[in-house]
Symmetry: C2
Subunit: 230 residues, 2 copies
């Protein structure tokens, strides 16, 4: 929708990958709608995933015993976070929609993207107990997890050895984004693109573009345990 | 048990932290038993969490389109993985038990530890489809996830807003370790150590040492969806 702002947090090493194409399709389609689209291309940025004292500029609150969460909360209040984090927070603050685009690594997101979550979503910025879940600080934003898998759809069906794909979504959608007050759109999952034909891959890209056309009319999911585990 | 080998993969920035104490207690207690204990202190090692082409030494299999999983499988076969990964794999290979010690970050492990999983557990080394789950390549090993939380035990009870803590264990225990054929011991969870008295924290450390005394008699859990979601 014209005027809306979208942040795509993108984690793939290879621009020519299928994930790269999904990202490009999203940039093109959303731009065509008049959205303003920003991409955080984590590998290209060599984004730092490690949560260390380098994330705090200047003196620590308690330098005898380093407590990351405590230090980050203090540093956020005082405007003493490292520049890379302030920039990501600014992008998040401005965005109406966050799209996370990545290949599934070990039933989760790649470490570089987990590091983005660990470091950017600081207490005071994204949540501030008891301001979490429906009263999290990033209310009025939407998030969507868009990812590719190695396994086929059948491998991630309920009752299969790898279990329902929704089990995997719980920590990411509920534990992170919903915790920060963000509303969750249905995930967009491309199963096993490496094992299908070039034609089928093109169909997947077209389906993604199609979905994005009507994205702003979608209702968020009801992000409760029932959605994931029933 | 005397002669057994243990690898502790440890992710905390601060040696004086409660996680640091849990790690030290484990090293001491297991050493006292005659076990040989190795610690991978990920922050101290400045362990690299990002999955990039730097993980492969020498020429890529396909340098036109970088596919991390494909390249890593080839590099493993040819002995062309980066040194840090070969060293971690050697430690895993030799270990009878892997203990993962960390603070819970966003319903999961910190990015630096996720990076250890992403980069070390290469196809051909840890799994090789269809050799996964009970026929994974790291059979005859045990793993335990030992972690601290910010939230209290009640906050991670079934029916609570954050859901059963077991939901969070699915990707880590089942999706990673069980996928590689590793048998899973009951997790060791210290809830909200930051919010209890010094005395209670000491009790937690004593309880951990006590558990480790009889660790080798424990039966692995039945790592099926029922354990997690029923």
């Amino acid at each position: 929708m014209a005027g809306r702002k979208v942040l795509i947090v993108y984690a793939h090493q290879e621009p020519n990958s299928f994930n790269g194409s999904l990202k490009t399709v999203a940039v093109e389609e959303l731009s065509k709608q008049g959205c303003s689209v920003t991409v955080s291309d984590l590998y290209a940025m060599q984004f730092e995933p490690r949560a260390t004292r380098n994330d705090i500029v200047g003196c620590l609150h308690n330098s005898n015993e380093f407590n990351y969460a405590v230090e980050m909360t203090e540093a956020y209040k005082k405007g003493c976070l490292s520049n890379d984090l302030m920039e990501e927070q600014k992008k998040v603050q401005e965005a109406d929609l966050l799209i996370f685009q990545f290949p599934l690594y070990w039933f989760s997101m790649p470490a570089i993207m987990k590091g983005w979550m660990d470091r950017v979503l600081v207490q005071g910025f994204a949540h501030d107990f008891p301001n979490c879940y429906d009263s999290g600080l990033l209310q009025n934003k939407l998030a969507m997890f868009s990812f590719t898998t190695g396994g086929t759809e059948e491998m991630y069906a309920k009752g299969s050895m790898s279990g329902d794909i929704r089990y995997i979504l719980w920590p990411m959608q509920h534990g992170i984004m919903h915790f920060c007050g963000v509303k969750i759109l249905e995930p967009h999952i491309c199963f096993a693109p490496e094992y299908v034909s070039e034609e089928k891959r093109k169909e997947m890209l077209t389906a993604w573009a199609q979905r994005l056309k009507t994205l702003w009319k979608e209702e968020p999911i009801n992000c409760t345990p029932e959605w994931y585990f029933n």
